[in-house]
């Protein structure tokens, strides 16, 4: 995550350019709406400046201006009590809880399965092609069904969404860890054999440490996937709240500002999770010597 000093100016420029484009697009997209509103109100004495300012401050714009999204986020994060259902903190925490539970379960299962695959020969040859194929399948399509099936067993609330988050993070983690456990070179494996190391010892002393870079890469992908899973699951079962429910409610009632705020909250959550894993990666990398 370390950004070279030389890159700061370009990044700032790009961010400013994005903001400028955003404002221009918001003004252009909202102006027709605002013009209609003026026409309905019987006003025709407005200047272009009035039109632009009004377009950027509509209550239900097609595209809210960045300042409106920021204002909505401040309002729903800082100014609203976290226990209120109007608070993004409330919904964000629900999503975070589902994501984390799901991610931990998915990661544990994924790493476990990867360990089994690299050590059991026949499982490897029969299971690996399916795992690879599973990467090409939109497994998220199963999300609504899993929610319903679990509710048949009276499993509701956080659990179904965590299950989907786990399910989504499971596959990429398994595939990544299999690659990681396989990453030692034949030469190194031969060395272990000359030491007459048992397969457990080979695993603990060679395969597991060698997989560390793959571990962190798959953790990042898995965490992002778990968050997507939690959000999509919340869309399919929205009465329990969460950022996905916020998105759906916003789209039902045309509350665009609310959608954008929820979207940015989700983005921040994802970036924070991935950033946190990146931080651990750098610390571990420095200790284990794989950091560049």
């Amino acid at each position: 995550m370390a950004v070279p000093v030389k890159s700061i100016l370009p990044i700032v420029t790009v961010v400013l350019a994005v903001l400028a484009i955003w404002y221009a697009a918001a003004a252009l997209m909202n102006a027709p709406l605002q013009r209609d509103m003026y026409a309905n109100a019987g006003r025709s004495d407005y200047s272009t400046q009035d039109l632009i300012v009004a377009s950027l401050n509509m209550e239900r714009p097609k595209l809210p201006g960045p300042h409106q999204v920021v204002a909505e986020m401040v309002k729903s994060i800082v100014a609203t009590a976290p226990s209120s259902k109007r608070s993004l903190v409330y919904h964000g925490l629900i999503t975070l809880e589902e994501t984390l539970i799901g991610f931990v379960i998915g990661a544990a299962l994924g790493i476990g399965l990867a360990m089994v695959i690299v050590s059991v020969r026949w499982l490897d040859s029969s299971l690996t092609p399916w795992l690879v194929a599973s990467q090409t399948i939109p497994i998220i399509a199963l999300a609504p069904m899993i929610v319903v099936i679990l509710s048949q067993f009276n499993i509701t609330g956080v659990a179904p969404k965590a299950a989907i988050a786990a399910y989504l993070s499971f596959f990429p983690i398994t595939v990544g860890m299999v690659k990681g456990f396989r990453s030692p070179e034949p030469l190194q494996l031969d060395l272990m054999r000359t030491y007459s190391a048992s397969s457990m010892q080979t695993f603990g002393k060679l395969r597991a440490p060698a997989s560390a870079p793959y571990f962190f890469a798959s953790m990042k992908i898995g965490a992002a996937a778990a968050l997507v899973g939690a959000i999509v699951a919340e869309v399919t079962k929205s009465e329990d709240g969460g950022l996905g429910a916020r998105l759906l409610a916003g789209s039902y009632y045309g509350q665009t500002v609310q959608i954008w705020a929820a979207l940015f909250a989700a983005a921040a959550l994802s970036a924070a999770l991935v950033g946190l894993i990146g931080l651990v990666e750098r610390l571990a990398g420095r200790r284990m010597g794989f950091a560049r």
Binding site: S126, I137, V148, Q152, V232, T236, L248
Partner: protein, 258 residues
């Protein structure tokens, strides 16, 4: 060579069969209600009966998916080539592209439905945004991958920037570009299906899944998922096959041990 590859396919094929047989057996023996898990035979029966519906859903979803995939990947490629001309832009855009690639972009689905209506263009728009950034990041990395020695050679030939790009750097970037194309097949499927959860005319795979789940037609959900799975794998397989033809020179495709 062909025989070896066929032989490699036997264990996974058998494994799949065993799983299906076990599934059928458990569902029948334990009398699992269809609402929880229909037997594979029930899913197959439902599939055969509902082919017209499933085909209509498939075409509806594939329209948005393909349009979005082509526009998203195409624009990602073009922007990457433009960005590549300026070190300043590359430094500014790349961290941003990497950041955006990790975000839950499917969340923009409700916004796109609002902007572009219920029909397939809104799904295409979601797919465009989802596929654009992986393509951008990968292509920019790929264009860097030609070695300095090769570039120097182009310089001694007196090649123009354009010639260096088309004769050296773009071909060298192809493995990266295909990597993005493959990743994007899955992302495009996800985008097209999830976007339909947020509103669609009464047809489409995502729509079918969410409504059938609503009135507990779980066998129909499985039939649709079967279509989605086959479509996803076929799409990926197609791109991978093209990759084999186009980047046959790459070490990972040279005949192993031959």
């Amino acid at each position: 060579m062909i025989d070896r590859r066929l032989a490699d396919l036997v264990p996974p094929f058998l494994f799949g069969l065993v799983i299906l047989a076990l599934w059928e057996l458990v569902v029948r023996a334990a009398g699992v209600p269809t609402i929880i898990l229909p037997a594979p035979s029930a899913i197959a029966a439902r599939f055969l009966v509902s082919i017209p519906t499933l085909a209509a859903d498939f075409w509806q979803t594939i329209k948005g998916l393909l349009a979005g995939y082509i526009v998203g990947c195409g624009s990602g490629l073009v922007v990457a080539i433009l960005v590549d001309r300026s070190d300043f832009l590359r430094r500014g855009l790349l961290p941003m592209g990497n950041l955006v690639s990790a975000l839950p972009i499917v969340g923009i689905a409700p916004i796109m439905v609002m902007w572009f209506g219920f029909d397939w263009p809104s799904k295409a728009a979601v797919v465009v945004v989802m596929t654009f950034f992986p393509m951008l990041v990968n292509t920019v990395a790929g264009l860097e991958s030609a070695s300095p020695m090769e570039r120097d050679l182009m310089k001694t030939y007196g090649a123009s920037d354009w010639q260096t790009l088309t004769a050296l750097r773009l071909p060298a970037a192809l493995p990266f570009i295909f990597n993005a194309l493959k990743v994007n097949t899955t992302l495009a499927m996800i985008g097209a299906i999830v976007a339909e959860f947020f509103g669609t005319p009464i047809v489409g795979m995502g729509f079918r899944i969410s409504t059938e789940v609503g009135h507990l037609g779980i066998d129909m959900v499985w039939a649709t998922i079967l279509v989605a799975a086959v479509t996803g794998s076929a799409f990926y397989g197609l791109v991978a096959a093209i990759e084999r033809r186009v980047t046959f020179w790459h070490p990972s495709f040279r005949a192993k041990g031959a």
